[in-house]
Symmetry: C2
DNA sequence: GACGAGCTTTACGTTAACGTAAAGTGCTTG
DNA sequence: CAAGCACTTTACGTTAACGTAAAGCTCGTC
């Protein structure tokens, strides 16, 4: 959306042996085409919590998945605060009390309603784009006609 | 997305006689549930160009449609700059030269690719949400069980 | 042991998209 | 004619999500 160069939906390579089970911040950054700064920022915002080895951050599979989900949420226009809300409640689920769980269900329903609205928006937006596309092609055809008729300015 | 209160997809009332053909800034604002300030800002950014009657802005049907499209674009995460890009090229279409028109087609294809990526993201996100939903409901059920067994803390 | 690569923290800077406050204009209604 | 309402301009403030610069560790290697 803000990126001019087509941003891949997910990590570049998804079907590898993936044997090492943990990553450095640079590896993750390259995988998802974000900067290390972004990943550190998400940690600061409570979306990631990697282990430390000395002073270096060590990311496990769980962290990678979470980053993936976070970025997907972002592409859909969710704020980091919203994403954190779901993520934290998801973490607190196993020992969560009923109130929290009901609250979680509420949030989920809300997010889903948002997605449905987006689906409709996409449908409409596609129609508009198709329309503009058609018109543009027609104008191009007419220009072509004029050209073959020797009409040039 | 950022709005906590469920934002309607489009204007509140869509199927009215609509006889007067022009609106004040306040009317438009109420229609789309935005502030006048937002509408003025969009004008400043080159997305709207209402007539003036004295010093007051007069919005015609065309302006209303454009605002609608703009807001839809925003809900889909497009920046105002991106929206303006399409809108301005659309306006320049009739007398546009071939280069411009090809450029427009390029942009349109780009936007469409974006939308397709969003569709996939929505599909995946829905699955995740459903999954969390299921888990939460199961935990709730188990809590209910414990409750009926007299297990309370 | 100097160096580069890759990591770290701290902290100030930046951009988009408005919000908000102040001060003024113009109509109409009690 | 005073009050109120809807509009106007100008201008500074705010928030999210990072970017960027500075300064410092740590490891392998030439």
């Amino acid at each position: 959306m803000t990126q001019p160069t087509a941003p891949a939906n997910e990590a570049s390579q998804e079907a590898l042996p993936r044997q090492h089970r943990h990553y450095t911040i640079g590896e993750l950054a390259r995988m998802f085409e974000v900067t290390p700064r972004t990943i550190r920022f998400y940690e600061q915002e409570g979306l990631l919590a990697p282990r430390r080895e000395g002073q270096k951050r060590i990311y496990r599979e769980k962290d990678r998945v979470r980053l993936k989900l976070t970025l997907r949420g972002k592409r859909l226009g969710f704020s980091l605060a919203e994403i954190r809300e779901v993520v934290m409640m998801y973490d607190a689920m196993p020992d969560g009390n009923a109130r929290q769980l009901w609250r979680l269900l509420e949030i989920l329903a809300d997010k889903r309603a948002n997605l449905d609205r987006q689906l409709e928006d996409i449908r409409l937006m596609r129609m508009e784009l198709d329309d503009v596309d058609h018109r543009a092609r027609e104008v191009l055809r007419s220009l072509d006609q004029e050209g073959s008729l020797g009409q040039e300015d």
